[in-house]
């Protein structure tokens, strides 16, 4: 391996991942704009060798880091520097795959191309929500490819998105320390939660940025600079502050648990009551994203994609 590649590997960070619709493949995007596809069945089988843990195929998708990826029924959507590209899952394992389409949200300033930090699918009206460096949330219709809404309000760039399916609202957490709720039909800002102003969860030494969000309509959990906190949305009160010292970078609701991971080499299994039920150690030192492979009955594994030498680690779901 030449020295350039060796150095790149040393400094590689995987930011995003997505499981294929069939549940057999895992796509991961890194900070060099490359997407690598791994075969889960090969890597997790009993006779897996070192070779089977290497990507089946990897290609350069974007010219900036791939910060977010989601999968639809047939396509993988990846976000790079100010653009979203779609790849067909059926073609992606073949070499020389070309994107199915590529879209650019309408940015106002042209000084710097803003990154896209989060992608969220809205299956109800077949649209894609994206948010990133231009401090606003865009909504794109997947069929037509047009951008329908732009939700402006944040004063700093948006880190994460969450969808409140029932009410057709979307939540966005931002660097400015607020979580805002947007009505997807009208495009109006419903609510602003200034998380850092609440004493229970605020941690000024870390900053006020909100890095991760998850919601299941009535509840919301968010974390980042402030501590990971569970909020009751209707009353907008923080109910539980989870005792995690590190900044959390990804959080999700899974069955009756809350899974979170952050600047520590562990995946935390938390109960809604606030108890830390389990802390699963994982290889690299900081975790950027978690995803659960719901689609394959054989490989029901919680994958976590993380940084630190560009390695991927697997943590078994606490079943």
């Amino acid at each position: 391996m030449d020295i350039q590649r060796a150095l790149e590997l040393l400094h590689m960070t995987v930011f995003s991942q997505s499981v294929s619709p069939c549940g057999k493949y895992l796509a991961a995007g890194n900070n060099y704009g490359e997407i690598a596809v791994f075969s889960l069945s090969a890597a997790l089988s009993s006779e897996a060798k070192e070779e089977s843990k290497k990507p089946v195929v990897s290609f350069t998708a974007h010219d900036g880091p791939v910060y977010a990826m989601v999968s639809t029924e047939r396509q993988l959507l990846s976000a790079g520097n100010g653009e979203v590209k779609a790849w067909n899952w059926s073609d992606i394992v073949k070499k020389g795959c070309k994107e199915a389409w590529s879209r650019r949200p309408p940015y106002r300033s042209s000084l710097e191309v803003p990154e896209i930090n989060s992608l969220q699918l809205n299956p109800k009206d077949n649209s894609l929500l994206l948010a990133g460096g231009d401090c606003s949330v865009h909504a794109m219709d997947l069929e037509s490819g047009t951008f329908t809404h732009e939700f402006r309000g944040h004063s700093d760039y948006v880190h994460c998105l969450a969808l409140r399916d029932q009410y057709q609202e979307c939540l966005s957490g931002s660097e400015d320390g607020t979580v805002r709720m947007w009505d997807l039909r009208t495009g109006a800002q419903v609510q602003v939660i200034e998380v850092h102003k609440y004493e229970e969860c605020s941690r000024p030494q870390n900053g006020k940025w909100i890095r991760c969000l998850a919601t299941d309509c009535d509840w919301m959990v968010c974390g980042g600079g402030p501590a990971l906190t569970l909020w009751h949305l209707r009353s907008v009160t923080p109910t539980t502050v989870f005792p995690l010292p590190h900044c959390q970078q990804h959080v999700m609701f899974y069955q009756d648990l809350i899974l979170s991971a952050g600047h520590s080499p562990a995946i935390n299994h938390l109960q809604i009551s606030g108890e830390l039920r389990a802390q699963i150690p994982c290889t690299p030192r900081s975790v950027h994203s978690l995803c659960v492979n719901q689609r394959s009955p054989e490989h029901k594994v919680a994958g976590c994609s993380l940084e630190g030498g560009g390695r991927m680690a697997r943590g078994r779901g606490a079943e």
Binding site: I3, L7, E112, G133, D156, Y157, S286, E307, G309
Partner: protein, 683 residues
């Protein structure tokens, strides 16, 4: 009775009575003048057997008479005296008969003896005669054989065969009419002829000797003439040297070199020839020379008998000395090791001159028993080099040429067969001896045409010039690059130790004009210490930090913030970039493992090295990396968001122009500097 004097018996018997003698003696001598009684004559007449009977009778009578006398005596009567007397007289007569008989017997005996004696004497005389004759016969026989064995000298002379003789000899010598018939004459003639011939040949021989002497004298004269010529030719050659130099055709020097080159061992010869060829064709600044003693080289190839004798002598000597002095096993092994690691007395020197007048001197040696080449290096510069403390290893002979090609560390012998040789004498590895012998790099073997394939160990590896030729150009280029890069680093280190990062004018555009963070320390770091650091583990695991690398520690300071960096410098600098590992001590310890932005800073310096190479040939990479390190530290410190809970102003007010302070999920700081606008942005 007196006629008994003819007998030789002396004692006379005195008879008491003149009793009448036996009638048997009754011969009476008629003549008084010739009156002798010859009993000898009587003996011949009588018959011995009758005498014997008579004797027996007489004895019987005597016995009878004696018996009667005794009887009479024993009776003791008076008339017995006469009877006794009678009987006595009779017995006396018988006694006389006995005496006679005794005499006769004696006479007979004597006669017999005389006769025997006579006969015996005769026989003896004959016997003696016989002996004499036999002796004479023997003597004569010996003489005869001697005569017969006598070889005349003439038979030792090889004569020409008879036919040839008759053909060649002139008739007055050969005289065929006589000689054909008489072999004696023939032989004489042949001898004559032989003599003739020999005389003639002796003459010829003398003539030849004389002519030989003459010719020898002529040769001497010519030889002297030639030997007087040699110094004159030498002087002409010397005189022509300035002309050669003037015309840039150093034939003389080249000729001398090729003379010496004939004594080089094959790999060194290949190296010499190829280096010379390359120098003449492509590289004017490459000079090749041969050093060492040619006599020693010639002595190595002594004829086998001499060397065997010497060996056996020296063996014998050694044995004796071991018996006397008993040296320890270590001393013996030591000698064996020295023998195994012996160098050929000749060595090839290559001097590479660079544009700035610095020179790399390489001396190549050949190890006889191991069939490998080694090299020793030395650098000389036009100006005296100041030695910064941290630059100790840069130009040291041990490290200068390490890893010229990746992985070629020169610590082990490239010839796999050597391992078996080493085991015999207890050498663990050649690396213990490299200080003295030089390094056995693989490229050195290739330049000497030696190829040691790993998967097929060959029995004997011979030098091939094609291998040498194919590697020569690249190796020379790499050597020059290596020297230049090390010298550049040397200069840079001198400046770095004083806390100044030297940035050349061409590279100023890579950095903002104002850089606040300062280089506080630059020092060399031992490899073991590098491994101990907690923030270098990733680099070590990735295989980017090996024991052939050079390691340094850097301290960059700004205010209360101290940034420590460990640098792993690849010997192949600058085509191989140095790798930095960072640790920031400011409000806690932050390294690449716990802070994404520190990782980003490392990435800026390590991964983006191509931007920092500067003008070709890129020796300024290290200093540019250091400068960039200072710049990104500035950015990091100034863009850190203020902790509102703590009182007091920000320690580092933001002076850099940035579009955005954070970007992306890892909240990356804007480390990229844009020239000439002078603002910082994200990648």
């Amino acid at each position: 009775m007196s006629s008994d004097s003819s007998k030789k018996r002396k004692p006379k018997v005195i008879r008491t009575d003149g009793a009448p003698q036996e009638s048997k003696r009754g011969r009476v001598d008629p003549d008084q003048d010739v009156k002798y009684y010859s009993e000898e004559a009587e003996v011949e007449l009588r018959d011995p057997s009758k005498d014997y009977e008579l004797y027996k009778q007489t004895c019987q009578e005597l016995q009878r008479l004696m018996a009667e006398i005794q009887d009479l005596k024993s009776k003791g009567s008076k008339d017995s005296a006469a009877a006794i007397e009678e009987r006595r007289i009779q017995s006396c007569m018988y006694f006389m008969t006995l005496k006679k008989l005794n005499r006769l017997a004696h006479i007979r005996l004597k006669k017999g003896r005389d006769q025997t004696h006579e006969a015996k004497q005769k026989v003896d005389a004959y016997h003696l005669q016989l002996q004499n004759l036999l002796y004479e016969v023997m003597h004569l026989q010996k003489e005869i054989t001697k005569c017969l064995e006598f070889k005349s000298k003439h038979e030792e002379i090889e004569l020409v065969s008879v036919d040839e003789f008759y053909k060649e000899a002139p008739p007055e010598i050969s005289k065929p009419n006589i000689t054909l018939n008489e072999p004696h004459q023939q032989t004489l003639a042949r001898l004559d002829w032989e003599l003739e011939q020999r005389k003639r040949l002796a003459e010829k021989y003398k003539e030849c000797l004389a002519s030989k002497e003459k010719i020898l004298k002529e040769i001497e004269v010519k030889r002297e003439y030639l030997s007087s010529l040699q110094p004159r030719l030498n002087s002409i050659m010397q005189a022509s040297l300035p002309v050669q130099e003037y015309l840039f055709m150093p034939f003389d020097q080249a000729h001398k070199q090729s003379e010496t080159a004939r004594h080089l061992p094959p790999p060194l010869y290949v190296l010499f020839v190829q280096a010379n060829a390359y120098g003449q064709a492509c590289d004017q600044k490459l000079a090749v020379a041969i050093d060492g003693s040619v006599e020693d080289a010639k002595a190595l190839y002594k004829p086998p008998e001499d060397s065997q004798d010497d060996e056996s002598d020296s063996d014998a000597e050694e044995e004796q000395t071991t018996k006397r002095r008993r040296p320890t096993l270590g001393v013996q092994l030591d000698d064996k090791r020295k023998e195994m690691l012996k160098r050929h007395p000749l060595s090839v020197t290559i001097d590479l001159k660079c544009k700035d007048d610095s020179e790399l001197h390489l001396v190549f040696y050949y190890l006889l028993n191991l069939n490998v080449l080694t090299v020793k290096s030395r650098v000389s510069t036009a100006a005296e080099l100041s030695s910064p403390v941290s630059a100790g290893d840069l130009l040291s002979p041990g490290c200068l040429l390490s890893c010229l090609y990746p992985g070629d560390h020169g610590k082990r012998t490239p010839n796999p067969a050597n391992q078996f040789q080493f085991d015999k004498v207890g050498i663990l590895s050649l690396s213990d001896y490299v200080a003295d012998l030089g390094h056995p790099y693989v490229w050195v073997q290739k330049l000497g045409g030696l190829h040691f394939p790993k998967d097929q160990p060959q029995h004997t590896v011979t030098a091939e010039s094609s291998l040498s030729a194919s590697h020569m150009e690249l190796t020379m280029k790499l050597l020059r690059t290596r020297l230049q890069s090390r010298l550049a680093l040397h200069k840079q280190f001198a400046s770095l130790e004083h806390g100044v990062v030297p940035v050349s004018s061409e590279c100023q555009q890579l950095f903002p004009s104002k850089v606040v963070a300062r280089l506080a320390k630059w020092a060399a770091l031992p490899y073991e210490d590098y491994l101990e650091l907690h923030y270098t583990k990733d680099v070590v695991e990735a295989g980017l930090a090996e024991d052939t690398h050079l390691y340094y520690t850097v301290l960059v300071e700004r205010g209360t913030a101290k940034l420590q960096a460990a640098v792993a410098l690849n010997p192949g600098y600058s085509s191989m970039p140095p790798v930095f590992s960072l640790c920031l001590s400011w409000k806690g310890e932050r390294t690449g493992s716990n802070d994404d932005n520190i990782r980003a800073m490392e990435s800026e310096v390590n991964v983006r090295y191509r931007e920092l190479c500067g003008p070709r040939p890129g020796y300024q990479l290290l200093t540019n990396q250091l400068q960039r390190l200072c710049v990104v530290l500035d950015v990091y410190l100034e863009t850190e968001c203020h902790d509102t809970s703590v009182e007091g102003p920000k320690e580092f007010p933001q002076e850099k122009m940035c579009l955005r302070l954070a970007r992306g999920p890892s909240r990356m700081k804007p480390f990229k500097y844009n020239h000439p606008q002078g603002f910082f942005s994200h990648r």
